[in-house]
């Protein structure tokens, strides 16, 4: 009997403590990518990134509409959507992953932490597992900001680049992520 009471109590405690864990979210995160070659620089920015982060298990995800990437040059934007990303066929890009060094991060104490994330990135209908090591996470009360940068290869995502423009598109594209989360309330 004692045992049952104890386990129920522990369970209750556990559920309660889980509820005290936070979910962060944003609808206006930033993801940009940059390709630099001697011939041409390509710079695209998307300020409508949706992201959720659950502190309980360190799971996090990102989602965006590919068409929301804005380019300085409208023609580049059109070519990106029509010929490369094929955003009518593959309208969304997503990342689903987990913070792997969750024990290093204290979401209840203000400060800057280095996070490592592993997960699956889906773009252009192709899913690849990726690892991002140097993520700056800054906890400031109910605000959480994250900054990360990683590289991706167009060919890994089945993006055909015709030989004529091969020299204008970098072999590796730098992707920058900047997210300012606030607390998610249902």
């Amino acid at each position: 009997m004692k045992q049952i009471t104890l386990s129920i109590l522990t369970l209750l405690f556990f559920t309660l403590s889980l509820n005290a864990q936070k979910t962060f979210y944003t609808k206006s995160g930033y993801i940009g990518f940059f390709s630099s070659t001697p011939l041409e620089n390509i710079d695209a920015r998307n300020h409508q990134v949706v992201s959720f982060l659950k502190t309980a298990d360190g799971s996090l995800n990102f989602g965006l509409l590919v068409k929301s990437f804005k380019f300085k040059n409208a023609l580049m934007e059109e070519h990106f959507n029509e010929n490369y990303a094929e955003s009518d066929k593959y309208p969304k890009a997503k990342f689903k992953g987990k913070i792997v060094n969750l024990s290093d991060i204290d979401f209840n104490n203000n400060g800057t932490y280095i996070a490592k994330v592993e997960g699956n990135l889906t773009f252009h209908g192709v899913t690849n597992s990726i690892k991002i090591d140097n993520i700056n996470l800054t906890v400031n009360g109910d605000k959480l900001t994250g900054k990360a940068s990683f590289k991706a290869k167009p060919e890994d995502y089945n993006i055909e680049i015709p030989s004529v423009v091969r020299g204008k598109i970098a072999k590796e594209i730098t992707v920058n992520v900047e997210i300012e989360y606030s607390l998610y309330k249902k």
Partner: protein
């Protein structure tokens, strides 16, 4: 022992439940995001008609239009290549939804100016999503050649033609886009008293992409003509191919109309008979320049 298992099982369930729910949240957030249809047409013109495609803000489009003579002239006229009509056009976007433009055609030393405003955008998701893109086009044309009869009293206003057009387009699939074009052409001066000053017409145009960078296009106008003179005019028909190469779009066309501005080809006084093979080969070449700095 059993209880421990139940306990662990419960924890496991509550954990696995978690990553599931933020993924659901993500999907539901993304599905309410409004997504606008883009690239309904590759170029701002289908063949002769404007398409709903708008330039982006601060972009300038330079278009060279060329229509050779009728190919039915045969080898003696080198299949029409001996003579040609041309129009130079500049279009500039004040805003993503508003473009102004000017043009000059060699036929009748014609100048034209237009304003093209997008009123609705085809979209999906979000609160209100429109099934079509709706654009209003107003243009006026002025011929600057001398009047045919310099001895009579000629008014400046007699040089003017006005065109009002609604462009209603839908991108049905990645490859197929269609556009309806209710149109009114008003000419201040017509040849005879019985001729109509206002010509109503309805146009249909479209494009079908055959590869990523190539598309087949067509357009046709059915005019409502009452007077004996007007009935003899031919409605414009055109078929073409769009070829996109980086910053240029090449449009190779066959049309029964030698003229490239609405007051010319919709009105139809110069159109030839498509079904007798009186076709004009021609091309439009566009080049877009971006004036965005930051």
């Amino acid at each position: 022992m059993n209880k421990i298992f139940i306990f662990l099982g419960l924890i496991f369930i509550s954990f696995s439940g978690f990553s599931q729910d933020i993924d659901d949240l993500l999907d539901s957030e993304l599905s309410v995001t409004k997504e606008y249809t883009t690239a309904t047409f590759k170029s701002t013109h289908i063949i002769n008609s404007h398409s709903v495609a708008q330039l982006k803000k601060n972009h300038l489009n330079f278009i060279i239009y060329h229509r050779f003579g009728s190919i039915s002239g045969g080898i003696s006229k080198f299949f029409g290549i001996d003579n040609a009509n041309m129009r130079l056009g500049f279009e500039y976007a004040l805003n993503d939804w508003l473009t102004i433009g000017i043009g000059r055609s060699n036929y009748e030393k014609n100048y034209d100016g237009f304003i093209k405003a997008r009123l609705l955008r085809q979209s999906k998701g979000g609160k209100f999503s429109s099934p079509v893109t709706l654009t209003y086009l107003a243009s006026s044309e002025i011929f600057s050649r001398p009047f045919n009869d310099p001895n009579r009293k000629n008014y400046f206003s007699s040089r003017l033609t006005y065109v009002h057009q609604l462009l209603i387009a839908r991108k049905f699939s990645e490859n197929l886009s269609l556009q309806l074009m209710p149109t009114v052409v008003h000419k201040n001066l017509v040849k005879t008293v019985t001729q109509m000053n206002d010509l109503p017409a309805i146009g249909i145009g479209g494009r079908y992409k055959i590869t990523k960078r190539m598309a087949v296009t067509f357009e046709y106008y059915k005019s409502i003509r009452f007077s004996n003179e007007d009935i003899q005019y031919h409605d414009p028909i055109g078929i073409g191919i769009d070829i996109e190469t980086g910053g240029h779009v090449f449009q190779l066309v066959f049309s029964n109309s030698p003229l490239m501005q609405e007051g010319g080809f919709v009105y139809g006084a110069n159109n030839d008979d498509f079904f007798k093979g009186d076709l004009h080969f021609g091309f439009n070449i566009t080049r877009v320049f971006s004036f965005n700095h930051n």
